[in-house]
Point group: C2
Chain length 227, copies 2
DNA sequence: ACAAAAGTGTTAATTCTACACCCATGA
DNA sequence: TCATGGGTGTAGAATTAACACTTTTGT
C-alpha cells in the first residue's frame, strides 16, 4: 500500500436535494443556514461523513436526524469539489437527491428548522454552490424518471393514473397527454390495478393503482420522449 | 461555519476506468498493482486527491502523470465509500471513466507499467472493488453514449460511418443494422461529411465524417433503442 | 338529465426494422 | 467483369400524438 499517512486528508460532506410534490409542481426543501458565514441563507440539508459510515448511510443519517425524514429514497448525483467552494475550508461534497411524499412527513419538524418548500421553477438564491447542486440533481432526477418510473416515492401507496401523470408533468415541467400517458404506463406492466377507487376527485371515481413489488426497479427504454 | 476541525477527515482517491476501442470491441486498460497487499493484482489507475486540486484535476493528473495519457475525455461515474473497501485504510474513491483513442496514444509508456488491454466481455479478476467500478462505469458509458453521440474520443478526427457503428456495437455489445444506423445518425445533424474518402477498407472508398464542433455535446433523445 | 372526470377508441404521423437493391472501383 | 464494401430505397411493424367519443355517478 502507498503510505496513506503522507496523503492529504479531506472533509467529506453530503448535501441532500430534497424533492417533494405539492400543488401540481415539484418542490425543493430548503433550510435557512444556521451558522456563519451566510447565516440565514437558503441551503440544502447536509452534514459531514463520519469514519464509521459510508456515504449512503451518512445521507440517510442527515435526513433522519437533521430533517426528520425517514425511510427515504436517495440517489447519488455526483461530487462537488472545487477548492474554494466552501469558504470555511476545503470540503468535498457528495450530492444526493431525495424524494419524499410531502403528505406523509411530519410538517412540524420541518417548521422547527424553518424549512420551506420552493417550486423548482422559482428557486431562491442559495448559499455557496447549492443552486448548481439542485440543477444537477434535477437533471439526474429527470434522467432516472425516464428509465425507472419514479413517483412511488413522491406519492401515497395507492394512487390514480391522473396523479401519476401530474407527478411526471411536474418532474419534466411539461404537459403530457393523459390518454397517451395511461396507455404508455400500463403497457409497461409495472402497475397493479386495485379493486377500489378514489372518489374524492370525481363523481365516477378513478381506480387506484400500486407498483408491482418485483417490477419496482426495472430499467425501461424510455418513458417520456424528449424534444 | 460548523467547526470543521471536530469532524473526521478522509483520504479521497480517484480511480479511472480507461476504455479504448480495438479490434472491434471495447477494452479496459488495467495495471498490475505495484504495492502490497494484492501486489500484482489487476487494478485501475488511481491516485489520491490533493488539497490544491479538484477531483477532475486529480483524475486528469493521474492519467497524465501515471498513465501517460493526455487530453482525455473524462466523466464522473460515482463514489465508492464502503468502510472496508480498501484494506489498508478508510478511503473514499471517486470513479471516473476515460475514453482514449488507442492508436494515438504512446504504447511504450503503457508497456513500461505493464498495463494491458482487456475486453470488457472478459474482464480479469481485479483488486478490491475495482471490478464493480468497471461495471458501473460501463453502465454510465452506455447511458451517456445513448444521449450524447460519443465515439469522438475513441476514434480519429475523421472516421467513416461504419467505424462509428463498430464503436457503438462495441459499447452496447450488440449488432446494429448499418443502413438504419446511418440514417439515424445522419438525421441527428451532428456530423459533417468531408470531401475525401477512406480507401483502405474498400475499393469504392467510404466518405469520412467529423463531428460538427458546436453540436458536440447536444443532448439527444435516444440513439439506440433498448429491449 | 347533466356536469365533470374516468376511461376507451381511432386515425394520422413518425420512427424502427429488416431487407433488397444499386453504385463505384481495383484487381 | 466480378467481388466487395459503400450507400440508398422501401414496405411493414411499432410507437407516438392528437383528439373524439363513451362511461359512470352525485347532484
Amino acid at each position: 500500500m502507498e503510505q496513506l499517512y503522507k496523503r492529504d486528508r479531506h472533509y467529506v460532506a453530503v448535501d441532500c436535494v430534497i424533492f417533494g410534490y405539492l400543488d401540481g409542481d415539484l418542490k425543493l426543501l430548503a433550510y435557512p443556514r444556521a451558522f456563519a458565514p451566510y447565516e440565514g441563507g437558503w441551503s440544502l440539508m447536509g452534514g459531514f461523513l463520519n469514519d464509521d459510515e459510508n456515504l449512503d448511510e451518512a445521507a440517510t443519517r442527515v435526513l433522519e436526524l437533521r430533517a426528520g425524514l425517514s425511510d427515504i429514497f436517495l440517489q447519488e448525483v455526483g461530487c462537488f469539489s472545487a477548492i474554494n467552494r466552501d469558504t470555511a475550508g476545503r470540503v468535498v461534497s457528495v450530492v444526493y437527491y431525495a424524494l419524499v411524499d410531502v403528505n406523509t412527513q411530519d410538517a412540524s419538524i420541518l417548521d422547527a428548522h424553518g424549512a420551506q418548500w420552493f417550486s423548482v421553477k422559482h428557486l431562491p438564491d442559495m448559499v455557496l454552490d447549492h443552486k448548481q447542486m439542485v440543477e444537477r440533481a434535477l437533471i439526474q432526477l429527470r434522467s432516472d424518471a425516464n428509465e425507472r418510473l419514479l413517483g412511488k416515492e413522491l406519492m401515497p401507496q395507492y394512487f390514480t393514473l391522473l396523479q401519476l401523470r401530474n407527478v411526471y408533468q411536474a418532474i419534466f415541467d411539461r404537459d403530457l397527454e393523459l390518454a397517451n400517458f395511461r396507455k404508455k404506463i400500463l403497457s409497461l406492466d409495472i402497475l397493479e390495478k386495485q379493486d377500489f377507487k378514489n372518489t374524492t376527485e370525481s363523481r365516477k371515481g378513478a381506480f387506484y393503482f400500486a407498483f408491482k413489488p418485483e417490477a419496482e426497479n426495472r430499467v425501461l427504454d424510455r418513458i417520456v420522449k424528449l424534444n
